[in-house]
């Protein structure tokens, strides 16, 4: 009996490595600490009422961002572990199995649990405010999306301590990721954790599509929307149409692994290449899902701090539309070398190159927004400016990869790794840091410190170049990705050393940013006006942080850069007199999303271990929550006029 428990524990918990024990211990300690603090300060009720059950898009946005920052930390630690292992040839800091798990979790976490949720967080905060709406179209669904993402991410991270992590790479190519060559629960964690959060993403896409299409303030026609809102509209389209393919791909591989089907197996006619095909059908649009929103952020920030309207607004919009259409017909460029016929490769080479054209249009329009502007070098602006040259390098190397015969030489080498870090970091990460600094006062009512912000920027940005520019050469020297070690004498060592130095530098930059957040929480400059940057769009028209109902009066819009126009009118003394307040109709908090997602977690965990006694009750819980929700009719409340007056008076906005 004791023996069997012991052997079960040995199999259940990941063992055999001091690093894992350390992680186990720190996770346990952190959990106990959180529970203790919450209990001591009697914060449980507050946590439940203010956060866990909230349907307020601004709070959901903040929760997304906190979760994404934590995941960035985890992904960053993974990255540093990889860099440590690769610094010198023949190191044994990590063994092969461990290294393989680390790059898999690094890639998956960075893309699915950092980039996407960070963007979802920023769009939750900014989009309803920018279009002058009181909330998103489906607040309940919004909360559900967040909790699905959260529990999906938790499930994925659990693999580190229970059962073992996936090790087939974030692209999980079959047949290696199949049950036969990859037994154990690691790959199941990947499939099911990502699936759960993917369902949440799909719902977010639908939600924001409807929000933006149907809930804009009166007068805000599509072509008067701020560009960030435009970018989210188009991103949502890509999310809605790319994620179903991923849902299917993940489901098919899960069915292969759990129920013995043969979609991607070697045996019984399965087609491993079909997995690659389906994965990239989602995977390529995915990179634009994490890129277009930051294009939107840069458009806002560059226009704000150049004190000009964006150059070529209509073209900026249409180029994003073009990217969204093209993004669905280029996926094969990720497997040019899987023996396709020449016409197939030629088609996808050309369709991929075409994306350079709308992207280039955007780059030049940003440059010409700066032209004849009055440029102000704030921290968000620095991130936006650094993006332009750094991302261009990532983009043009992408075009080089798009040339199929040349890609035969780059594919799966560090040239490719350098390309995608140049786009993902100089694009997405710079963008989310930019948005974080820009909207921080709107989220919390105080600014992040500029000096520390700039230090973090310079250190991170320069280290990024130190880390990833030499990497292109490493690829041309023949070093392939996903190697846990390499022999001496190939000339690879110096570059690897430099890269590790750069990676540590990025870590330092990140630490300074984290310190800035903590420091500013205590000493940060308060934002009393709600408009700390002299902004141009409607989110700056309301107080910081915005009241629960966002706007006491729904603003009326007549031009682009609506808030700038309002300020202009006010300067000219044309501001119209305020109308009386009316009660505001708001959705009520609900615990169903978090409970339902927790059931999903239970069901998912059961599936990971193929414990159907656990999965089935979990699934029943999910369905019960759905039914319960379907019978809830009273899910709204009114904010009375007195409350509105009190809130508005507190921010000095009472008419």
């Amino acid at each position: 009996m004791i023996e069997s428990i012991k052997s079960f524990m040995g199999w259940f918990f990941v063992t055999g490595d001091p690093m894992i024990y350390g992680a186990d211990a720190s996770i346990a300690l952190a959990s106990i600490g959180i529970v203790a603090v919450l209990t001591y300060f009697k914060k449980w009720k507050w946590l439940w009422e203010e956060w866990l059950t909230t349907v307020d898009h601004k709070k959901i946005g903040i929760m997304y961002i906190i979760a994404a920052l934590l995941m960035l930390f985890r992904g960053g630690v993974d990255a540093l572990m990889m860099r440590a292992q690769l610094t010198l040839p023949n190191l044994h800091f990590l063994d092969a199995e461990h290294y393989n798990q680390v790059f898999t979790t690094h890639g998956t976490i960075m893309i699915i649990f950092v980039a996407m949720p960070f963007i979802f967080g920023l769009m939750n905060i900014a989009v309803p405010l920018q279009i002058g709406a009181r909330d998103v179209a489906f607040p309940f669904l919004n909360a559900l999306s967040f909790w699905l993402f959260f529990f999906g991410a938790m499930l994925f991270n659990l693999s580190f301590v229970i059962g073992g992590s996936p090790d087939a790479g974030w692209s999980s190519y079959a047949p290696y990721a199949g049950a036969e060559m990859n037994p154990g629960v690691g790959q199941n964690y990947y499939l099911i954790g990502v699936q759960i959060s993917g369902i949440g993403s799909l719902a977010t896409g639908i939600n924001f599509l409807v929000t933006i299409l149907k809930m804009r303030a009166p007068g805000m026609t599509l072509f008067k929307m701020p560009l960030f809102t435009w970018s989210i509209l188009i991103t949502s389209v890509i999310v809605v149409f790319a994620f179903p393919a991923f849902t299917v791909a993940l489901a098919l591989m899960s069915i292969d692994r759990l129920f013995g089907a043969h979609f991607f197996t070697i045996a019984a006619g399965g087609s491993p290449m079909l997995w690659a095909n389906l994965f990239w059908f989602w995977g390529h649009p995915e990179v634009y899902i994490v890129l277009l929103p930051v294009f939107g952020i840069f458009s806002e920030v560059i226009a704000t701090f150049a004190h000009k309207t964006l150059f070529g607004y209509a073209v900026m919009v249409w180029s994003m539309v073009a990217i969204s259409v093209l993004s669905f017909i280029t996926w094969l460029h990720h497997f040019f070398t899987m023996g396709n016929t020449a016409p197939v490769n030629a088609f996808f080479s050309i369709s991929t190159m075409l994306i350079a054209i709308p992207t280039g249009v955007k780059i030049f329009n940003w440059l010409f927004t700066l032209n004849k502007g009055r440029i102000q070098f704030t921290t968000p602006m620095l991130w936006a400016l650094a993006f332009i040259p750094n991302f261009t390098i990532g983009g043009i190397t992408g075009v080089m990869l798009a040339m199929a015969p040349a890609d035969y030489q780059y594919h799966n080498s560090y040239f490719l790794v350098a390309h995608f870090h140049s786009t993902l970091i100089a694009g997405t990460v710079f963008g989310i840091f930019c948005g974080l600094h820009y909207w921080w006062p709107k989220m919390f009512g105080y600014l992040l410190d500029e000096t520390k912000g700039k230090w973090a920027f310079w250190i991170f940005m320069i280290s990024f170049n130190i880390c990833f520019m030499p990497m292109y050469f490493l690829g041309l020297m023949g070093m392939t990705r996903r190697m846990y070690t390499y022999p001496a004498g190939l000339g690879w060592t110096p570059i690897n050393v430099v890269m590790t130095i750069g990676a540590v530098g990025m870590g330092v930059g990140f630490i300074i940013m984290a310190y800035n957040i903590v420091w500013s929480a205590i000493h940060g400059k308060k934002d009393k006006t709600g408009d700390p940057w002299d902004g141009r769009t409607l989110e700056w028209a309301t107080s910081s942080p915005a009241a629960e109902y966002n706007f006491a009066h729904i603003p009326e819009v007549s031009t682009r850069d609506a808030f700038e126009a309002m300020k202009e009118a006010e300067r000219k003394g044309e501001a119209d007199s305020k109308k009386p307040y009316a009660p505001i109709h708001m959705p009520s908090n609900t615990g169903i999303p978090v409970i339902m997602s927790a059931f999903m977690f239970v069901a998912g965990f059961g599936c990971v271990f193929e414990w159907y006694w656990m999965a089935i009750p979990g699934a029943i819980g999910v369905i019960a929550c759905m039914i319960a929700r379907s019978f809830v009719y009273d899910d709204h409340h009114f904010i009375p006029v007195e409350d509105i007056e009190r809130t508005e008076a507190a921010t000095g906005r009472l008419s």
Binding site: F138, L202, G270
Partner: protein, 209 residues
């Protein structure tokens, strides 16, 4: 479409059909359409996978050996008729005729149940009598998952409509129940569209090639 097409500039809310009359109803219907568009891609992916794997029978039974046109035609006709009765239910909804609405919805889900029964019988025959379960070959994996996904959608539709029937019985035709009934109708027609492609791409194609 004369009676149903709504003017974009319809100011007079009370002229709108019930399900569009509240802002929430309007939002949800658009959202549901987008969801259906996403489902198109979901099924597209399954179709693509199935068609690629169709010939990968691993020496086991192929489409020719398994498919029989009789039962398939029965399933098809039942589902087509259910789509029709579902269309009638929406019509009754527009007439605000609660009895008619409930009646046609009941007919619809009964037909849906018949369809499911036929499909389960077909699956059972293949998996048990013909020795061709999902794990037999890539072709069968593709077949069972594509049809199973459709079947699961039909099941969900039946449960959903049953729930709406309860609410209709309790509350009558309100803006909320009207919206739900209307959306369930869209869903049902959509499943019919998917079946048309299953009929063509799986059964007919399987018999032709």
């Amino acid at each position: 479409m004369t009676d149903a097409t709504l003017s974009l500039h319809e100011k007079d809310q009370s002229k709108l059909p019930l399900e569009y009359r509240t802002e929430e109803g309007d939002l949800r219907i658009v959202g549901f359409w987008i969801f259906l568009a996403a489902e198109l891609v979901l099924f597209g992916t399954l179709f693509g996978s199935y068609l690629v794997l169709q010939s990968h029978t691993a020496g086991g039974p192929g489409p020719h050996d398994l498919f029989e046109i009789g039962p398939v035609m029965a399933e098809t006709i039942v589902l087509l008729i259910s789509s029709f009765t579902c269309g009638l239910s929406t019509l009754e909804l527009r007439r605000h005729n609660k009895k008619g609405l409930i009646g046609w919805l009941i007919v619809t889900i009964l037909l849906g149940l018949v369809f499911l029964g036929l499909e389960i019988n077909e699956f059972y025959t293949y998996a048990v009598h013909e020795g061709a379960p999902i794990s037999r070959s890539a072709f069968l994996s593709g077949f069972f998952v594509l049809l199973g996904t459709h079947g699961a959608h039909v099941t969900l539709g039946i449960v959903w409509i049953a729930g709406i029937l309860l609410q209709l019985g309790k509350r009558g035709i309100t803006t909320v129940t009207a919206r739900k009934a209307f959306m369930a109708g869209l869903y049902w027609h959509f499943l019919d569209v998917v079946w048309i492609f299953i009929f063509t791409a799986v059964y007919l194609t399987g018999l032709v090639i």
